[in-house]
Amino acid sequence: MFSQLVKHEFKATRRLIPFIYLVTVLIILSNLAVRQLHMDWLSGMLLVLLILLGIGEVMMTYVVVFYRYYKNLYNSEGYLTHTLPVPPRQLLTSKILVSFIWLLISYLVMFAVVLTVILLKAEEYDQGLVQVLELVVQSTGLNQASVYWIAGLIFAYACLAILFLMAQIFFAITLGNCSRFHHLGLGGPIVSYLGVYFVSQIAILIGLIAVPLGLTVEDHVLKVVPRGMAAAFFNGQDFVIGLGSIVVIIALTVGLFTWTARLLKNHTSLR
């Protein structure tokens, strides 16, 4: 049944989201095509459009996946979704998986937009894309292995950030649609989100400072050390980037998804 849920989730979302990506990719290609024409007004206009689309396509994807979650579970479509003979856990997991894939693609498209902008700007100074990227790497003062390591870490953190935001919003929508919040209408999910956001930020801050796990640079090499940011603040030790917040974000993400599945199972109440 899980594979069927995933199939129908893709079927329901594939009409709009890929269209947004397609438009963005077309604008990227247009930008690359017109650079030889030396038509500054057209190049400028297309570049502005590309930057707006790069930001817009990620935001639109978020709006689509969150609205889909609400509509499919708590609006009229919920009357069908909640009567399917599938465990609520599978229902939630299918939505997490499909939403995550779309959002990840949207960030990859945005990354392509950023690279295109760098390429176009670099060409104005007779530089290539590779040269600019090498310059960026050199300016960090890190060796090559550390650069790859940090790139992988940024990718992993981006994935975690997507999942964490999804966990917060899915939870807020689910909690806000429990019967005790029905009288608040749309305010239910909004109030729930503000509450979750506030508690999460405090927990992340505590994790960042208090958890003894961090990143530091020693002899041009990035190292994980058993020290948090508190050690740097209060004991005057070497500066570290606290990784405790990541531990907290992972715990919050798992916790919120688990809580959401429990709410779906035990506190569903369609209006």
């Binding site: 069927q4 009357y79 009567t83 003979p85 599938v86």
Partner: protein, 235 residues
């Protein structure tokens, strides 16, 4: 054991009770009319049985199970609302039902679609409300379910279609199944009921076999309904 057992069921919305200490038992092979004025809890009761509302006190058992994954495979539920996405076409809805309900009979659904003169490729968003209701009824009645819960199945259709819908319901109803039909249009449908449950505000007003009601009051169920709830309004 009855197919549906409800014991001491209580449900309130924002501290306002809708159902209070309701107990019922419904055996297989019965068509039951769930009747009552607006806001008396008919739709709420059906939603609880369908597993759409899970925060209540008391017990609901369907074939011995509390509403959940096992019962959703047995229950075919038609809500009052249109629950299909606007982009879908009837053929997409058939795919969806075939994927999730092993008891869905696609051939029967296609046959009914033709009888109601609906097109398999027409997007739902371009259909009238009546057409959408017909499609939903086709989906629900194309399942060989153990329990059918129909909430106002004829609310948005013309009188001529009502009769066709009733025929469709009767023709496709599994004889060993339970059907609970909530409606205001009692006159149109009482001929198919075996039993009537009249819900008032916070109370079970009447629960009896149709023949007994007619014999006891010397009137049709529709007339009894009008009399009972006319009194409650004047009070």
């Amino acid at each position: 054991m009855a197919m549906i057992e409800i014991r001491h069921l209580n449900k309130a919305y924002s501290n306002k009770p809708v159902l209070t200490d309701l107990s019922l038992a419904i055996d297989s092979g019965r068509i039951v009319g769930l009747l009552g004025p607006n806001g008396c809890g008919k739709s709420t009761l059906l939603k609880m049985m369908a597993g759409l509302i899970s925060d209540y006190q008391g017990e609901i058992l369907i074939n011995g199970h509390q509403p959940g994954m096992e019962t959703k495979a047995l229950v075919s539920y038609l809500p009052e609302k249109t629950y299909l996405s606007g982009w879908m076409r009837p053929m997409d809805t058939f795919d969806l039902f075939a994927d999730f309900y092993p008891d869905f009979d696609r051939r029967r659904a296609e046959d009914m679609l033709g009888r109601f003169r609906l097109e398999a490729g027409q997007p739902i968003k371009t259909m009238s409300k009546g057409m959408q209701e017909k499609l939903q009824l086709i989906l629900v009645m194309s399942r060989q379910a153990k329990v059918y819960l129909l909430d106002e199945p004829m609310g948005g259709v013309d009188p001529a279609t009502r009769s066709a819908i009733l025929d469709l319901v009767l023709k496709n109803y599994q004889e060993d199944a339970v059907m609970i039909l909530a409606t205001h249009l009692i006159q149109d449908v009482e001929r198919i009921f075996d039993r009537a449950i009249l819900l008032g505000f916070n109370e079970l007003v009447m629960d009896d076999e149709i023949d007994n009601i007619r014999q006891k009051y010397g009137k049709s169920v529709d007339e009894v309904f009008r009399e009972v709830f006319k009194c409650s309004v004047s009070l």
